[in-house]
Amino acid sequence: MQIKFAIEGGDFATAGCASSQVKKLLKQLNIDPSDIKKIVVALYEAEVNIVAHAYRGTITVQIDPQKIIIVLDDEGPGIADINLAMQEGYSTATSKVREMGFGAGMGLSNIKKNSDELNIESIVGKGTKLTITKFFATS
């Protein structure tokens, strides 16, 4: 099963909508609640990253019996130093975004902690592609 979402940069009013829909879908599919919790945290952070940093992007969610693969592909400034961006506390968010309580430099580490695999490809001035994989608990 595959679903796709379009995300607009700067549109904080709808940030979290894709995460909410994926959460509902995973519940309907009877995925283990502890897996759903982790997937929701990782997806929400990645969704907000597009809203906070990029111009626009797409989220493609592929759900298989054993795993979920989420690809977030954005057109945006890209990440110059991925290792630095992965450090907790490091952020390039604007002051407006920080005033909202975002931009604490915890997003990418939250994604890493709550996924099984995280792959980041980025080209400065072009965009960033995140691939998040989470395997479902076997019952």
């Binding site: 979290g16 995460s19 919790k37 929400y44 909202m100 902690k113």
Partner: protein, 111 residues
């Protein structure tokens, strides 16, 4: 303890989400950093914050939190209140600071 019991006990305002007042509170989390709450709050907790915008409600819904408590007399923005009603997750309020209300909630939940 249910959200409505805490409202009565601590004399909290109810701004929105009345239908969720029977939610059970399992604990609490106090933070104004959204990723901190996203990463560390647990299902059923009551969230104390000064943030009033709609993204707080997105997080409360995604994390299945029991309620949000706005501090220092802050009130929810209109779209935040609307989402609170839709999600049936109450937004409460107090004139106290985060420090004071967190202490009182902590004591109330211990009983």
């Amino acid at each position: 303890m249910k959200v409505c019991d805490l409202v009565n006990k601590l004399n909290l305002q109810v701004y929105a989400g009345e239908k969720g007042l029977s939610r059970e509170i399992t604990g609490g989390y106090t933070s104004d950093l959204l990723s901190d709450v996203m990463g560390n709050a647990e299902q059923g907790e009551i969230w104390v914050t000064l943030q009033t915008h709609k993204n707080t409600m997105a997080i409360a819904s995604l994390k299945d939190l029991a309620a949000i408590v706005l501090v220092k007399g802050n009130q929810p923005e209109a779209d935040t209140a609307k989402m609170s009603n839709e999600e049936e997750i109450p937004i409460l309020g107090t004139t106290l600071s985060s420090f004071e209300i967190t202490g009182r909630i902590f004591e109330a939940l211990k009983l």
